[in-house]
């Protein structure tokens, strides 16, 4: 079932001296519960696309349509951006508070429990490690029960070990919640290991040049195991070639 349909979306940034085209004629659909990745070089407009989907920006032309009217979007940024002046508990509860859904506050404890971070409840973000903070940021995002989750390179600021374990963790968590997810990244392995579908973006102005369906056998594995699957290597080579040919 199609959950999200993006049609002929083009987006420009206007400046005094010039007009920058960030996205050009982007078309794709995402099915309910699917995990989709956008892979492309830095500055190809991937983050702009997420901002458009989140409604922070309006596309210059084109349309973005959701199958349901009741869409709650969760957005995870490259860094955690937890508020250092709030406790972990209050950080996770932030969305509920702002969306006036304080009655759902029990989910905060549930999430922290599930993420094995209940002991950090009363601590402040600077007291936690980077990987822990990013998990808290995920909890903050999930607390409002998003129907669409947008991940903007959420693992890129982490060291390799935390990155791998967090990938597993996120993939696991999202499977439980069966949330439709869009991940933006420039890391080929990450895209293959986590997704059902991968769209390749060209450099600026960004547009989709190719899409890859991840084989079922890779999808079923955790992101960490997927990296060792034979099919993974084949796909990696293919995508690598595709990206390589785009850049020149």
């Amino acid at each position: 079932m199609t959950y999200l349909e993006v049609k002929n979306v083009t987006h420009h940034f206007f400046k005094e001296q010039q007009v920058a085209t960030a996205l050009e004629n982007v078309n794709f659909t995402v099915n309910s519960g699917e995990f989709v990745s956008f892979l492309g070089p830095s500055g190809c407009g991937k983050s702009t696309l997420l901002s458009l989907l989140a409604g922070l920006l309006k596309p210059t032309t084109g349309s973005i349509n959701f199958a349901e009217s009741d869409v709650e979007i969760g957005y995870m940024l490259q860094q955690d951006f937890l508020f250092p002046w709030k406790t972990i508990e209050d950080n996770v509860a932030l969305g509920l508070k702002l969306l006036k859904r304080e009655e759902d506050r029990s989910i905060v404890d549930e999430l922290l429990e599930q993420f094995e971070l209940a002991h950090t409840k009363k601590l402040y973000p600077p007291q936690l490690s980077g990987g822990m903070r990013q998990r808290i940021a995920l909890a903050r995002t999930l607390a409002v029960k998003p129907t669409l989750l947008l991940l903007d390179e959420p693992f890129s600021a982490l060291d390799f070990r935390s990155k791998l374990s967090l990938e597993n963790f996120v993939s696991d968590t999202l499977k439980q919640f069966s949330t439709t997810t869009i991940l933006v990244t420039h890391d080929i392995s990450e895209a293959i290991a986590m997704s059902d579908k991968v769209f390749i973006f060209s450099p600026r102005p960004g547009t989709i040049v190719k899409s890859f369906i991840i084989p079922q056998e890779v999808r079923e594995l955790t992101p960490f195991e997927a990296r060792n699957a034979p099919a993974f290597q084949v796909l990696f080579q293919e995508i690598w070639k595709e990206l390589d040919s785009d850049e020149y």
Partner: protein, 264 residues
């Protein structure tokens, strides 16, 4: 065992260093006072102009015992504290209004630049005429001198808050007020507190200048009246009291700063 000894040695060294610095500081103070006393005693410096530590000390005791000093101290202290609090509060409020409307901020920009550049004490006489020669004029002077710079500094702190924090708020559809309360204000608290430190000094300037002009009470008045009758012992006494009080206030604000920042 050995490590512990080294640690002890290290601590001992630090303690000795601290004691050394402190004794030099005391020595310098004693030296200065002694220099002052000796030079005026032997008339190398004119005691009529430079007074002497002994004269200032005995005047201090007389004025304390006859109770003529305390009211002046109380008035100046009150004016400074109120001027300082109002200046910072008004500055913060103005900064909030600038933050709440980009248009307003852009319109006000050149005016803020001019007002900031203008030496506020220059309009002292105007204030005296408008508000009359009373405490209100002194307070206005004390507030005026700190309010513009507070506004500018705090507003620029508001603007420097990491955009991504604001983005997080937007994603949860936060109102402007909520964004301010949950992000802008807590993120700028350290800056607001450091303007407090600057404002302590500025308020003293404003209040003393105000008292020079109004000339009816306070430590600034004591300086001016002492000067007019060539009683420089009184001038030095008032000056020393101001120095001590201003330092205590500054240290107090520093203490508050440490308490607040600790919490964050």
């Amino acid at each position: 065992m050995n490590i512990e000894q080294l640690q002890q040695q290290y601590n001992e060294k630090r303690r000795r260093e601290k004691r050394k610095i402190f004794s030099f500081q005391i020595l310098l103070l004693v030296g200065l006072l002694l220099f002052w006393e000796v030079t005026t005693h032997f008339r190398i410096l004119d005691p009529l102009i430079f007074s002497s530590p002994r004269a200032v000390g005995s005047l201090f005791i007389t004025k304390i015992t006859d109770g003529t000093l305390f009211p002046h101290i109380a008035i100046t202290l009150f004016e400074t504290v109120v001027g300082f609090i109002l200046g910072t509060l008004l500055g913060t409020l103005l900064a909030i209004s600038l933050w709440s409307s980009k248009t307003f901020a852009n319109v006000m920009d050149p005016y803020l630049v001019v007002l900031n550049a203008m030496p506020k004490v220059a309009i002292g006489p105007m204030i005296l005429v408008v508000f009359g020669p009373n405490m209100l004029a002194v307070l206005v002077m004390g507030v005026l001198i700190s309010v513009i710079i507070s506004t500018i500094v705090i507003f620029s702190a508001f603007q420097q808050v990491n955009e991504n924090y604001i983005k997080v708020m937007q994603l949860f559809r936060a109102s402007k007020y909520e964004t301010f309360r949950h992000v802008i204000l807590p993120a700028s608290t350290p800056t607001i507190i450091s303007t407090l430190k600057v404002n302590v000094g500025l308020s003293w300037v404003g209040v003393i200048v105000g008292e020079f002009l109004v000339s009816s009470s306070g430590l600034g008045y004591l300086i001016i009246s002492g000067f007019q009758v060539f009683n420089f012992t009184l001038v030095f006494l008032a000056l020393l009291i101001i120095i001590v009080l201003a330092t205590i206030m500054y240290k107090g604000v520093e203490l508050i700063e440490r308490k607040v920042l600790e919490k964050q």
